[in-house]
Structure formats: C-alpha cells, structure tokens
C-alpha cells in the first residue's frame, strides 16, 4: 500500500517549530552551561523569532490567504495567529519577570526556561488545533510543564503542594476531557472538527445524546483550565503557592490557550449539539462571575485576590465564548491581549514586593508604596484600575467589547450580572490602591537589581495605556478574522 503523504505547509508550523527547537537547544545548552542568563536570552530570542514568523503568517492571512496543515488539523487562520501573538507576549513577559525572580530566590536551574517554552508551544498547539486529539496533546504538553513549574521552589512546602494539587486535579480534569473526546468520537466516529460537524449534521444521526454528554465533559475539562466555577478551586491555592512568575504565566498563557480552544469548538461543534451543552456554559458563567468576584472581596493577600480576580475574568471571557462567532472571537482575543498585559504586569510588581521566599503579598506590603516607590505604585495602580475596568485603560475596552458581543448574541440578563459584578470588583481592586496612597509605609521595600522585571512592567504599562486610549488599531487588525472552519 503506497503511503500518502499528509499535506504539510511548513510555514504554518514555523512558529511552533521555532519554539520547540529553541526549547530543545536551550535544554541541551543547559546541560553543560548552567548560566541561566544565556538560556533566558536564548528563550527570548526564540520567542522573538517565532513572533516574526507568526507576523508573516498574520500578514498573509490578512491578505486572505488561509493556510493550514494536515488536512485542517493544524490551522493558521487569523484567530489562531492572533492567539499566538498573545501567547508569545505572555510567555515573554513571564520570562522577563522570572529572570530576576529566580536569581533572587536562588532557583536558577536553567531547565526552567525550556519548560516554559514547551508549555507555550503546547498553548500554541491548542490555539491552532482543528482536531480534538491535537487539542488534547497540546493541553497535556502545556499542563505537564506548568505542573512542574508550579513546584519549582522545591524547598518550599507551599510550592510543592501547589504542584501536587494542580497535578492531581488537573489529571482528574484531563480524564474528563479525554472521556468527552472519546464520547464524541463514539457518537460521530471522528476527531477533527469539520468531520465531527459533518457527522453531527449527517442524515439519520441519532447519537446526539452521547455527543452532548461528550460536549459537556469537554466543557468541564477546559473549564478546569480556565477556572470556571465549580472547577476553579485549584486556582486560588495553586496561584498562591506557585512561584509568582509562574503564577503570571499560568494566569495568562494557560488561560489564553484554553480559551482559544474553547472558542473554536464552541463556535463550530456546540451549536450542533443539544441545547443543554450551551445552557451549561450559561450556568457556569453566572456562577463564575458571582463566586469569583465576591470571594475576591474577602481576600487579604494580593496574590490570592488576583487569583480570584483571574477566576472572575474567566467569567467575562467565557461570556465572549458564549457569544460565539466572529464578534465573540474578536472580543475574546482583544480581552485576552489586555488581560495578558495588565495581569502579568500586576504579578510583576508583586515579585518586586515579596521577599525571596515569596512571603509577604499581604496588603500591608502595599502600604505607603506611593511614597517609597512612586513609579512602582503608579504602575500597579494602572494595572489594578485596568483590571477593574476604569475607562481609557485596556481592561475597560475589553469589557465593553465582551459585553456588547454578549448583548448582540442575546444574553442580556447574563450581561447585567456581569456589569453588576464588575462594579463589585472595583471595591477589591481599589483597596490596594488605597493602601498605596493613603497609608504610611510599614515595610522597607526591597532594593534589588531587577532590570528585566522593570522592562516587563514598562511594556505592560505602555501596552495597557496604549490599548486603552487607541483600541481601534488592534481591533481592526482582528477584523478579517475569517476562520478556516467558518465555511463548513
């Protein structure tokens, strides 16, 4: 039997391959040179090259050139490419933050960076997946690396616990995801999205029940990764226990990838499933918005507060998923861009305030920061206000886009809940601001050499403000977002 070669468009794979080869190179280099500086630089270089390839693809796709590989199993449409940008940005910020942090905490094993790159490449695979198996493998690559990174501070019980907890619950959630995929396969006989949709729409199809069950389980599995209530409880604990730069990475890159995957399958597969598949997401979103925001209110530690805020933001983002289709996709990408900048920025500031054992993220650390470190306080204020959705910062525009997409899709009452909870959210975001500006300093802030963190904070502030004042350009770039699967 002659072997038919699959269609491979190497350019579509280029960003992924660059990341993978950089990760391998870095891992090999780390074997004989334990200097983390070189490895970190190599990792950043890899991200930059991947971004260049991604840009080339993006330009091509804006010109209407839709590329894919392996028979629509690996997609390079606008959605995937825009998500790639967000993932690369998030990874770059996380690496910049990590470098100083690891040095300070004496955790400079250079394997850290290859793991982060591998995780980011898993995330990119998820964003590009046009097939449930590819999606699953991307998710596993991304997750395994993050499990390990969460436990990176091997001498700290919190960190070890975070890694273990995340792993156990993550494996549990993966089991559901795999089960869901198996059920969808059982119902339709296929794994790739177009074939699944074709199977669901085929004449005489009667396994809708099995397929919907599978859909719900996939929703649960991905819902775990983005921390939708009630699959969210790992998030606060793991976010608190993991090293702060890893928390930043998790809250940004992992979330982006999971949403990218969720958006795609929700837009193409779920409408063909039973009504309940969509309705379950509505319930999860309502729960997430309420639980996330109200529990964030009673948090004392900033890191934990940001963890719950990440849960709440998952709720807003899921609103965009619900509003599937082009508008929701664009809103979600936009929101995730903004979220990446402001959340990574907030965590970056946090790394500069806590001591080398990651202790001390409580509110008192922020007291009087406006006096002792005025620029840091100003940056943190920008991030928090943006997260709260104060106008003319990126977070506000993201919320507007998501809300209007949801309203357009007819989910008015859910949007009302979202608006009300977003106002509740201002209370807890403004509390650290109050401490920074209205209190006397209680701690002497650490004076450390932290150039790369400052670069990350600078990028994040610049991006947050720029996107807030001129949101149009990035949004219009996402304009032609014609998905490869749209016509199917």
């Amino acid at each position: 039997m002659p072997l038919v070669l699959p269609d491979i468009d190497w350019l579509t794979l280029a960003p992924l391959l660059v990341l993978l080869s950089t990760a391998s190179l870095a891992a090999l280099y780390a074997l004989y040179n334990r200097s983390s500086k070189a490895v970190a630089l190599l990792a950043l270089l890899g991200l930059a090259v991947a971004a260049i390839f991604n840009l080339q693809l993006f330009v091509a796709s804006r010109a209407g050139e839709l590329r894919s590989s392996f028979g629509l199993r690996y997609l390079a449409d606008q959605g995937a490419l825009a998500f790639n940008f967000v993932i690369l940005l998030g990874a770059a910020l996380a690496i910049l933050i990590s470098y100083d942090y690891l040095k300070r905490a004496e955790l400079e094993q250079p394997e850290y960076y290859p793991l982060m790159l591998l995780s980011a490449s898993g995330a990119m695979v998820m964003a590009a997946a046009g097939d449930l198996i590819i999606l699953l493998l991307g998710l596993e690559i991304m997750s395994l690396a993050v499990y390990v990174l969460s436990a990176w501070r091997q001498q700290a019980r919190e960190s070890a616990e975070a890694g273990m907890k995340y792993f156990l619950l993550g494996a549990f959630a993966s089991a559901f995801l795999i089960y869901g995929i198996a059920l969808i396969y059982g119902a339709t006989g296929f794994f790739s999205y177009p074939q699944i949709v074709a199977g669901l729409l085929a004449e005489g199809f009667e396994q809708i029940f099995l397929a919907t069950l599978g859909g719900i389980m996939i929703l649960a599995g991905l819902g775990f990764k983005v921390a939708l209530v009630p699959f969210h409880q790992w998030a606060p604990d793991v976010y608190t226990g993991a090293p702060t730069p890893v928390t930043a990475f998790m809250s940004v890159v992992v979330k982006t990838a999971a949403f990218a995957a969720l958006l795609r399958i929700f837009a193409f597969i779920y409408p063909e499933l039973g009504v309940l598949a969509v309705q379950s997401l509505v319930v999860l979103i309502a729960l997430t918005l309420i639980v996330g925001n109200f529990t964030a209110l009673v948090q004392r530690g900033i890191k934990r507060m940001l963890a719950y805020s990440a849960v709440a933001h998952a709720g807003y983002l899921a609103l965009a998923v619900l509003a599937a289709g082009n508008l929701g996709m664009r809103a979600a990408i936009w929101y995730l861009t903004a979220y990446t900048l402001m959340n990574a920025g907030a965590f970056a500031v946090l790394t500069l305030l806590s001591d080398r054992n990651d202790h001390g993220d409580d509110l008192e650390r922020f007291a009087g920061l406006a006096r002792s470190r005025p620029y840091l306080a100003a940056a943190m204020t920008v991030f928090l206000l943006s997260l709260a959705g104060i106008p003319l910062l990126a977070g506000f525009v993201g919320k507007i886009l998501v809300f209007s997409a949801a309203i357009e899709a007819g989910y008015v009452s859910l949007t009302v809940i979202a608006i009300i909870t977003s106002v509740v959210a201002m209370v807890y975001y403004l509390r650290p601001v109050m401490y920074m500006y209205f209190r006397e300093p209680e701690y002497e802030p650490l004076q450390t050499n932290s150039r790369s963190t400052h670069i990350a904070i600078g990028i994040a502030v610049f991006g947050t403000v720029l996107l807030g004042i001129f949101p149009g350009w990035w949004y219009s770039l996402l304009d032609l977002g014609q998905s490869l699967l749209a016509g199917l």
């Binding site: 198996i133 699953l136 493998l137 596993e140 890694g163 156990l168 089960y179 059982g186 604990d237 793991v238």
Partner: protein, 100 residues
C-alpha cells in the same frame, strides 16, 4: 448478543470505581493509581468504539492515551517525591497550607 453498550457500561463502571478511589483514598500513590483506572476505563470505551466504527483512528487515540498516561505518571511521581521529601508522609490531606 454483545453490543457496544456493554463495553460502554463496563467503561462507566470502571470510571466510577476510579472516581471512588480518587475521592476516598488518602495515599497519594493510590490516588495516582486511581487516575490510571480512570484512563483505562476510557481506553475500554475507545477501543470498543473503534471496533464498532471499524476504523483504526480509535486505536491511534488509544495509543495516544497510553502515551499521555505515561508522561503524566512520570511527572506525577516526580511531584509526589517532591512532596514526600518535604512532608515525610505520603497522604494527601496535609496538603492544605493554602486555603480560603
């Protein structure tokens, strides 16, 4: 007569046993083994479905699940070693330094 649903039911029962183990065992290694039962329950389903649909795709998926299980176990046991070294016990309940 043997139908696909027999296998799906067998898978469901195994899955439920795995769930019970995951929730009731305190020993971390036993919990990891429960996760393996979960995955094997899915494997039963997948292979039966593959036969039913008369395709090799399902077998490939099963192969991937086994590979995923292998990678997960490696990382899981490494994380377990890490915890065991710090806590000195192999149970899951002391893992609650972070809460509320």
């Amino acid at each position: 007569m043997l139908t696909l649903n027999h296998f799906l039911a067998l898978g469901a029962i195994l899955f439920a046993i795995g769930l019970y183990g995951l929730l009731s065992r305190r020993n971390l290694v036993a919990i990891l083994m429960s996760v393996e039962i979960l995955l094997n329950a899915i494997l039963v389903n997948v292979v039966a479905i593959a036969r039913f649909n008369d395709q090799a795709q399902g077998d490939v998926f099963a192969l991937f699940i086994i590979a995923i299980a292998a990678a997960e176990v490696a990382v899981g046991l490494a994380l377990f070693l890490n915890v065991f070294r710090l806590n000195g016990v192999a149970t899951v309940d002391p893992l609650r330094r972070m809460k509320e």
